[in-house]
């Protein structure tokens, strides 16, 4: 398995676009910088800034879309060049192949959130909006790490859909709908969608200012939601890859 993951990363070295997508991690910290400069004052509260730069649209829209594109790219480009036949001949276990892709998504997601965290600290401390404080920085790093890990599990259904398709149009369109659905479901039922369940887990202590959750926080239920979707995703990937010649 470790060898498969290593090979996946070696393949990624040739794909510049994958690395360019990491620049999207700077988008929300930069917008938060503009927002607090022209519209709102932070009042010196670093969590106010981090809520905008790392815990809002980044986890509902930007990172899910980036990970959805990554999932689709990882699977589609091998399909396109008909590499799968050669991989099956080696032989490589089909689920080993699927989970090696998942590991890439997991590591990528963690890197993305760590870049967001570093950019958030830089964009808040350097212009002087908030004073540097180890406690809040460590909290930001811990939360970003949590988000990075859980969100990759929440995106497993997209990876499974990408694995079940030969094309790329359906998975990427579903990515858009999937992330938008989570954003919208937050006010209806937070335990229906893996991404909104992830938000519940991240905000479980209620220490992010300005976030109002419409339902009571139930962390086990949020984990259960993610688990159910992931089990369904793994089954789908198993069936789809099993049928692939």
């Amino acid at each position: 398995m470790l060898r498969l993951i290593k090979i996946e990363f070696l393949k990624l070295r040739r794909r510049k676009f994958v690395w360019l997508m990491l620049l999207a991690a700077l988008f929300m910290p930069f917008l938060a910088l503009l927002y607090f400069k022209y519209v709102k004052e932070t009042g010196g509260d670093p969590l106010q800034f981090y809520r905008w730069s790392a815990f809002s649209y980044t986890i509902f829209i930007i990172l899910p879309v980036v990970l959805g594109i990554l999932c689709t790219m990882l699977i589609y480009e091998e399909n396109q060049y008909d590499m799968l036949k050669q991989l099956w001949i080696v032989p490589i276990s089909k689920m080993g192949y699927f989970f090696s892709k998942f590991c890439v998504v997991l590591i990528y997601s963690i890197c993305f959130m760590l870049i967001t965290a570093v950019a958030s600290v830089m964009f808040s401390v350097l212009p002087g909006y908030v004073a540097f404080d180890w406690k809040s920085v460590l909290y930001l790093l811990k939360t970003c790490l949590e988000i990075g890990i859980i969100i990759s599990f929440a995106m497993l259904p997209i990876l499974a859909i990408a694995a079940s398709q030969k094309g790329y149009i359906l998975p990427v369109c579903i990515t858009l709908v999937y992330s938008f659905l989570s954003f919208s479901l937050m006010t209806v039922n937070m335990y229906l969608h893996p991404l909104s369940s992830m938000a519940v887990i991240v905000m479980r202590n209620g220490d992010i200012p300005g976030v109002v959750l419409t339902q009571a926080i139930n962390v086990p239920l949020a984990f259960l939601c993610i688990c159910i979707w992931d089990i369904a995703a793994v089954l789908l990937a198993n069936i789809a890859l099993g049928r692939r010649k």
Partner: protein, 243 residues
């Protein structure tokens, strides 16, 4: 040109991208409908006449449809090169500038059709829920707004489609750029000046979703036309690679 448009129509009929775009539009409508179940001031949002047709516009525009349209546009332009059909087309011979123009016209039509589809869905739901509260003027106003949304969004994202088609790196870039570009509109709407001149919010100024003075509307129209000119300029230099 007529033949090229006919050929594009035939090609797109065989591809399932149209159905996927329709699926995305329907899903946006369903998701906004779910969001409409929230209770505000003692009544569900969806029970207020016009709420659904009003709310679906920004949600669809800031989050989903521009990326889908950009994906569709860049897909139909890039696929000729990707599937190596451009070699056969060149043998006919086909004027490549006209071919690209035909593809942009198809994308433009789809942009308008997707917004009109969204209008049909939202209007049908509103009619089912409270037909008596809807007036003809209101419905025609929304029809005009959705039509202008479709037209404006095409103009706003056309530089992205043109740019990625020129780069030949294709669809991934188009989708990611379009998503971030449209999503940034949420923040641009916080400032009056940016609201007028940022292409995605300019569309809403033009369509009537945002209240705008005549001066602001003229500014928005100029920005959108500049986007169209920019994409025409980029596409003018587009040449499919020689093999």
């Amino acid at each position: 040109m007529k033949k090229l448009l006919w050929a594009e129509r035939q090609k797109i009929r065989r591809s399932n991208i149209v159905w996927i775009a329709v699926f995305a539009t329907v899903m946006v409508a369903v998701i906004v409908l779910l969001g409409g179940q929230d209770v505000y001031d003692g009544s569900r949002n969806i029970d207020n006449a016009g709420w659904y047709m009003t709310t679906a516009q920004p949600w669809a525009t800031f989050f989903v449809l521009p990326a889908v349209i950009a994906l569709l546009g860049s897909y139909i332009i890039c696929r000729e090169e990707q599937e190596d059909t451009i070699t056969s087309l060149r043998l006919i011979p086909v004027n490549e500038a006209k071919l690209t123009a035909a593809k942009m016209i198809v994308t433009f039509s789809f942009s308008i059709l997707l917004y009109l589809l969204l209008f049909v869905i939202t209007f049908s739901v509103e009619a089912i829920l409270h037909f008596s509260d809807l007036s003809v003027a209101m419905v025609l106003g929304f029809l005009k707004a959705y039509f202008l949304d479709g037209l404006g969004i095409f103009l706003a994202i056309s530089p992205i489609i043109a740019f990625v088609s020129r780069m030949k790196k294709g669809y991934w870039l188009a989708m990611l750029f379009a998503e971030i570009y449209s999503f940034a509109g949420i923040f641009m709407s916080m400032s009056n000046t940016l609201k007028t001149f940022y292409p995605f919010t300019a569309v809403f100024g033009l369509s009537g979703y945002y209240e705008a003075t005549i001066g602001n509307r003229i500014g928005s129209i100029i920005v959108l036309l500049l986007c169209g000119c920019l994409s025409a300029f980029i596409l003018k230099g587009l040449k499919y690679s020689e093999k």
